[in-house]
């Protein structure tokens, strides 16, 4: 058991990040190959200024008009995405483990803060889940895989929360937590999670076209 725990909390973390980085590089190479073959005219108007203008405009809460049309969904989504990165990166237990193996360390959230923020993430995911049942236009577009992705994101947060509180089956809770966290990292480049890289590229593309060609705002 000890060597298994040592493996999933040691080498497997690095293997997961390696697969993640290699996957991202391959996906991006494939994407740019496609652009070069089919749409290489985008380079004629692609601009740094309009790309970043668009990316930043879309990062400001409620600046884009479309986000004002569904304020509740958008607010929850905004906070959710922020916490999705904030919590695991600044969690005391994660940073402590990293310090012990790599001597890297940085500021951390206190455990009680992280615990409350984790609850916000879990409730956001429940909201996204229910929304897919009750909002007709979303329900219409929902497939089984949408629920699967909500589950994959929920798993490391729910198991981390249950483990922290030591409610039951502590050792197994941590094992499932670590494995589900690694699964999520590995899946990013190969699934819909890749939108974390595609979204800024889409903004650069659209922002440049609106700024340079149509002389308009794209938010």
């Amino acid at each position: 058991m000890h060597s298994f725990i040592n493996f999933i909390m040691g080498p497997m973390v690095w293997i997961s990040f390696l697969i993640f980085f290699i996957g991202v590089i391959f996906r991006l190479i494939g994407l740019f190959k496609q652009i070069n073959a089919k749409e290489n005219f985008v380079y004629t108007y692609l601009s740094f200024k309009y790309s970043f203008r668009s990316i930043f405009a879309w990062l400001i809460p409620f600046l884009p008009v479309s986000t004002r049309k569904s304020p509740v969904f958008y607010s929850i989504s905004y906070v959710f995405h922020l916490l999705l990165f904030l919590i695991p990166i600044f969690l005391l237990s994660h940073v402590a483990l990293l310090e012990e193996s790599m001597h890297w360390s940085w500021v951390t959230l206190s455990d009680s803060t992280a615990d409350s923020l984790t609850l916000i993430v879990i409730f956001s995911l429940i909201f996204f889940f229910i929304r897919r049942f009750v909002v007709p236009e979303v329900k219409f577009l929902t497939r089984l895989s949408d629920f699967l992705f909500i589950l994959i994101v929920a798993l490391p947060f729910v198991t981390g929360f249950l483990a922290y509180h030591q409610f039951f089956a502590y050792r197994w809770m941590v094992i499932v937590h670590v494995l589900s966290g690694e699964l999520m990292i590995i899946l990013i480049p190969f699934t819909r999670f890749f939108h974390m890289f595609l979204a800024p590229l889409t903004r650069a593309y659209t922002g440049s076209e609106f700024g340079n060609v149509r002389h308009a705002k794209d938010w």
């Binding site: 725990i5 237990s93 310090e99 012990e100 206190s110 455990d111 030591q166 502590y170 050792r171 941590v174």
Partner: protein
Amino acid sequence: MMKLKRFIFITIVILMITAFYSYSQEEFPMVDNLIFDHPQRPAAVFDHDDHNEKAGVEEDCSICHHVYEGKELIKDESSEDSLCSECHSLKTTPENGISLRMAFHNRCKSCHFKSNNGPVLCGECHIK
């Protein structure tokens, strides 16, 4: 009148149970964590002599209570009259590359991993 007697009786029982629990919890031996600014976790369970007997390390105190001169480990000498925090500060400094939390964790966990026995996950030492 009966009601009042019953009320007093129940109150006394509850008080005794609470007293027993708080007493028995304090009895459980732990590594003191008061040196940490705002302890984030319950203090780690560690029954010093019992642990070292079970782990078969009661002969060599220097496995944990080691002595350094600068960065040089002095073999065959031990520092059981000092706390770990006398040399390991809370934050890493140029003189000491091992923060106090990390000193505890690396010492305890590396041996547990090596001997395939003993706790290795947060909640197995920091028991709520």
